[in-house]
Amino acid sequence: MEQRCHAQVDKKECGLPQVRVESYRGFLYGCFDADAPSLEEYLGEFGWFLDTWMIGAGNGAELLGPPSKSILDCNWKVPAENFVGDAYHVGWTHAAALEVMGGELAELAGNRADMPFDDLGKQFTTRHGHGFGVIHNAATSIHTDRAAYDQFMADQLPKVTKNLGQERANLFNGHWNCTLFPNNSFLYGTNTFKVWHPRGPHQIEVWTWTLVHKDMDPELRKKIQKGAAFSFGTAGTLLADDGENMMTCTYSNRGALTRRGTLQSTMGMNHEGPHPDYPGIVGASFIGETSYRGFYRFYKEILKAEKWDAVRAKDDSWDSTFENRDFWVNNLNTA
């Protein structure tokens, strides 16, 4: 066949590009850049946070599939940004779902309650743009059928405390909205785990799995999988609100006038800094933009860096844009 086609291709020169596949605590990630840092180095200090549930009580976590897939007409950074830090959209965007689901989160609906946000959670960002917000003691709160899940979490907690210490035991009980830079986001507690695959600047393909602790029994897994689909699946009561925002943000920002603007991301600026108990930069509240600033700071850095060496050169000084270095020292002393 090849002879007859006058094929003059050297097949050795035509192989597929190699993808590097590496695992962190059983979660596999791929990378096409041979010069990029190893996965462990790339996650860096964020691994300390991930271990909260990737190790947890010992057996860690895994994904239930197959993923459901859907097309969303938005730029990939919009959902990545939403998950990395946007807690202040919840009360308004999801007002309808929160009201119907009831429970303690119903108070958030429509932003009607005056809440002491600084006492209720924090935000974190580390090297390479990873970040998350945590709402304390709220891990299971989006689930409507959650007695068994609450019991499971309570049973796990002593082992988590023993393995990882008090700070991460507290994080284990919290609800996380998180993005691993650039496009892998999850809600720990709500059990939804997503990858935003860019399909050009104005479209993504969303893949959604259910995130479960490996120690969960089959009955609880089923319940969790149902609950996660109900809230943040492709027809989720909360997901339906978010998709609209993500698409509309992208659409509005394509306008000639809007493109002349700049991104405003200053909420909680200077209410953040290095913290004695946690790696990275810690923001005073889960309502804030500390983790946005970490995400976009790194986005800018890698757009400008010619090579990974230029990124590595800033490994020790990346957080200097967070200027209030004494925020937590002062704050913890007064408290």
């Binding site: 859907s70 007002a95 409507t144 109900f230 009561t237």
Partner: protein, 185 residues
């Protein structure tokens, strides 16, 4: 055709088809249901046409090679809808809060139901019904989505009307071509 919906349901191959009169009633029932959903009468739909023991199910189907013999999804597997009555009711109640921003202004949805094929089951008064749907969704100025698929229902006769006891939806798109599937197929 995946017809693994419920053990209770007789296989279509040897089950008797319903009479022309009953067939007509079922088709009319589906048109009424579609019109209710088009009109946003979700509470009426739930109260009048849905059975309290409903299982409303849209499984996640994967695009698979023919040689891939893994079994079809069960209600214990990943799904987009896997709802009982209380979950469906929460979905419906959410639409009445006045705070669903994407439905204000409301989207327009249009159902075409066809290929209605109805069979008696071993259970008197319970019918297994297959149908196809095309759903057109228009939103805002230019958003337009089309969804096609098949339904496998268990309808329970309730006086002169029917109640939906099982609905299994097979959406043709393996990658959903819409920002969400928050509508009732």
């Amino acid at each position: 055709m995946q017809s693994d919906i419920q053990p209770n349901v007789a296989s279509a191959a040897n089950a008797p088809r319903v009479s022309a009169e009953l067939q007509h009633q079922i088709e009319q029932h589906y048109y009424t249901e579609a019109r209710m959903l088009q009109n946003g009468q979700f509470r009426e739909w739930l109260d009048q046409l849905v059975a309290p023991d409903i299982h409303y199910w849209l499984p996640v189907y994967e695009q698979r090679f023919r040689r891939d013999k893994r079994p079809a999804p069960t209600p214990d597997d990943a799904a987009i809808y896997n709802d009982d009555f209380s979950m469906l009711k929460m979905r419906v109640d959410r639409l009445y809060t006045g705070q669903v921003w994407m439905e204000d202004p409301p989207s327009r949805i249009r159902y075409s139901i066809s290929n209605v094929e109805a069979y008696h089951t071993d259970e008197p008064g319970e019918l297994q019904v297959f149908s196809n749907f095309t759903i057109q969704r228009h939103r805002r100025q230019t958003e337009h989505y089309t969804h096609t698929g098949g339904r496998e229902d268990l309808l329970r006769q309730d006086g002169t009307t029917f109640r939906l006891a099982r609905r299994k939806i097979d959406l043709d798109a393996r990658v959903v071509q819409d920002k969400n599937l928050y509508f009732f197929a």
